[in-house]
Symmetry: C2
Subunit: 115 residues, 2 copies
């Protein structure tokens, strides 16, 4: 199954440090720095197919880690809950004043940092 | 360095599924189910030292993963921010009424689930 762009970026953010140096480097060059397989192949002196195999293995390794740990899924669920909380805080901000409004804004700011 | 009880429990929660079956089983029996090394050794037919080596390697593997990814640290920082938010929400709960109090309670409940 094709991993979509967002998921691929989260996999690298969460688990990139668990890859081998080469896997991490080629994956990063290709997906984050937008280098083509041919360009990476030329720079590194291996075949285009060799580069692709390493990148594919990197993605498979990170996908397997996520399937086992479910940590990205856990974070994503938190983010959804935080988004729902944000909606309620926006309403609260409209109907409060004085100290209450101050507290609502302070909570909202802390939640922004969490996202 | 000795990993404390809370950290060990978080390591297992986050990364236990990345261990080998044997590492996970012995680690769980010893630290979560409170079996002694001698008891596990007897059940599994290997030496007490053998059991301990496997458990130690399990902990070292999970510690290394955390050192590389920092995901438990990231979660812990979120939890601290959530605790600070909770304090402000408790104050808000005291000084609001009507619809505002309703919203404050709804936000508090959602935060409880996140923890």
């Amino acid at each position: 199954m094709e991993t979509d762009r967002v998921m691929r970026s989260m996999l690298f953010d969460f688990y990139g440090e668990l890859l081998t140096d080469k896997q991490r480097e080629y994956f990063d060059l290709h997906y984050n720095e937008d280098f083509s397989l041919a360009e990476i192949a030329e720079q590194s002196g291996i075949s285009r197919q060799g580069v692709w195999d390493i990148i594919r293995r990197a993605e498979a390794a990170m996908t397997e880690i996520e399937e086992k740990t479910g940590l990205i899924k856990r974070f994503a669920e938190q983010s959804e809950a935080l988004a729902r909380i944000k909606t309620e805080l926006d309403e609260l901000d409209k109907i409060t004043d004085g100290r209450a409004k101050e507290l609502v804004r302070s909570v909202s700011e802390k939640l922004e940092i969490l996202k």
